[in-house]
Symmetry: C2
């Protein structure tokens, strides 16, 4: 923070980038951090609630998109190349299963969750397994070198689950925080809201017990991401939160351990309606507002670019005295 | 535009990045553009009005910061390295002169403008020379390879000039569009507003004649940037506008040739008060809102990153049929 004020620029003139670099210095406990090893963790899983017709796309798309990630043809691959980050693709429970090939880490809990509109999405044991899986991934990646982690998701139907989690945790009405996901119309949106309300009525998740919320209306990829966020925080690694699905995972992580919030950086405000409520509840200010609503970690990748920019400015800029520039008199 | 809708993502889910890629395709007249050669044009000049005590920093800082740019220790150097852009440093009229060394292009009009609070900042001939200089730089850079240009500035006192230009062109009151520049206090701000009002009373710039506005209350770097914007537009090169100073230059460029606006991309909304009025007048939506107010081209560098991201997404993402992903049924 003292260094920020000696750099060759008017104090405060780098705006949000100054605060961001100071936060990262705090998270990493390095006065002048370096973010060399960057990774996006994209977790995929299917959702039983898709049986209720809550999404525009068929559930097979989850599996197809994971193969697209592997081939390097998805948005997250392009943006990860832009920022020099590796993409960690994790199968947390994709329907139909995925081939055992290099490039996909298998942490499969089951072939998708159960339909939450008729009962719990998963057991409490499975919810715990999700957290353990996320933790294991992060600890393994730390061995490979990890200075900053971005979160991402793929799972047809997962805005339905994220909306349910957000409604329970923030206490807002389902209709206030449920959006159009991949792009459903008004009638489909009304149906999606009814399905989420029914899921909450059937399961009665306890807002004070994040594990209960995850088990009853969550998803395997959401639980995995929550575990990864907790592990990143425990290891002083800044974790850049993507959009709505990652935001719901962050609500679970912060519900389990409120201090985890201090290690989170909100990359962007999603166009998906409930995301603002997530960020408000977490007390996080988003860096970007580009109307993104793709997921995968795309917003997180852009956020990592800003994070790296902010610490590179802190490290590489000259101070007034180094550069022989007159400071305020 | 048709390609955008076939890429493996829900339509519209990349938000502002989709519109940005489509705009760049239009500007470059390339359906799938590539932004390989990137440059930030940082123009520096001094302002006679600093004699009236409108800035927190002494005028020598302009010259010192240009040498800091050359040494690679300024914020714009760090961010240009992040995005792989070259920085073109131009002396448009720095007080005290600069050494004739590699790395600074000399287009000096005079050793700073005259004090606009007592008469015109420059002659109409000098204003024309500024435009010619900006044009020459861009034409030279096109020979070296140029796919996208960011604009930037350095000039102690130049928010005073930019505020005057913005007041004249947009018709808003001086007090509504004058901000704190490098960080002046309330009393200094009131003084700055009085000096700008006096400059407008003394010079009576004609809002309908952009060259008159530039000559009477402009600056050499502002005129140079306006010329560069016109040259970029004429050559189908997208030009990424930085903050308030670049915004004032954009008002001059658009005043001379309204079609130039179609080639401009607004990188960010500056914390400097008058910038919002500039962008509103130009009809441009900023990509970022990070409370930056440094200038140099720092916001433009971040904007170029988003521009390159948007076209790389357009070019490198697979389509639904290529990736074997099911589209909406």
């Amino acid at each position: 923070m003292q260094r920020q004020d000696r750099l060759t620029k008017p104090r405060g003139s780098l705006g949000a980038l100054e605060g961001l670099s100071i936060r990262i210095a705090g998270i990493t406990a390095e006065p002048v951090p370096r973010l060399k090893h960057k990774a996006i963790l994209t977790m995929a899983a299917d959702h039983g609630v898709t049986a209720q017709g809550v999404s525009l796309y068929p559930a097979e798309v989850t599996r197809q998109m994971v193969l697209n990630f592997l081939a390097g043809g998805a948005a997250i691959n392009v943006l990860s190349r832009m920022i020099g980050a590796r993409v960690i693709i994790v199968d947390m429970g994709v329907r139909g299963g995925l081939p055992a090939i290099d490039g996909i880490t298998c942490k499969m809990i089951d072939f998708g969750t159960k339909d939450m509109s008729t009962g719990p999405a998963m057991t409490r044991e499975q919810a715990m397994d999700c957290l353990v899986a996320g933790t294991e991934i992060v600890e393994q990646e730390i061995k490979a070198g990890l200075d900053i982690l971005g979160t991402g998701d793929m799972g047809i139907g997962n805005t339905t689950s994220a909306s349910a989690i957000t409604a329970v945790v923030t206490g807002q009405m389902v209709s206030e925080i449920t959006g159009r996901g991949t792009g459903i119309d008004d009638a489909q949106l009304a149906h999606k809201i009814r399905i989420i309300e029914q899921s909450l009525t059937v399961n009665k998740p306890d807002p004070a017990d994040a594990m209960d919320v995850l088990a009853k209306v969550g998803g395997f990829e959401i639980g995995g991401l929550a575990g990864a966020m907790l592990a990143a925080a425990a290891n002083h690694i800044p974790v850049v939160i993507d959009g709505f699905i990652s935001g719901a995972a962050a609500l679970i992580a912060a519900g389990i351990c409120p201090a985890a919030r201090d290690y989170m950086i909100a990359s962007h405000l999603s166009a998906e309606k409930g995301h603002a409520a997530c960020l408000r509840h977490l007390g996080l200010e988003p860096l970007l507002n580009l109307n993104l609503r793709l997921g995968e970690g795309t917003g997180a990748a852009l956020g990592i670019f800003l994070a790296e920019s902010s610490v590179n400015l802190l490290r590489e800029m000259s101070t007034f005295s180094e550069a022989g520039v007159s400071d305020i008199q």
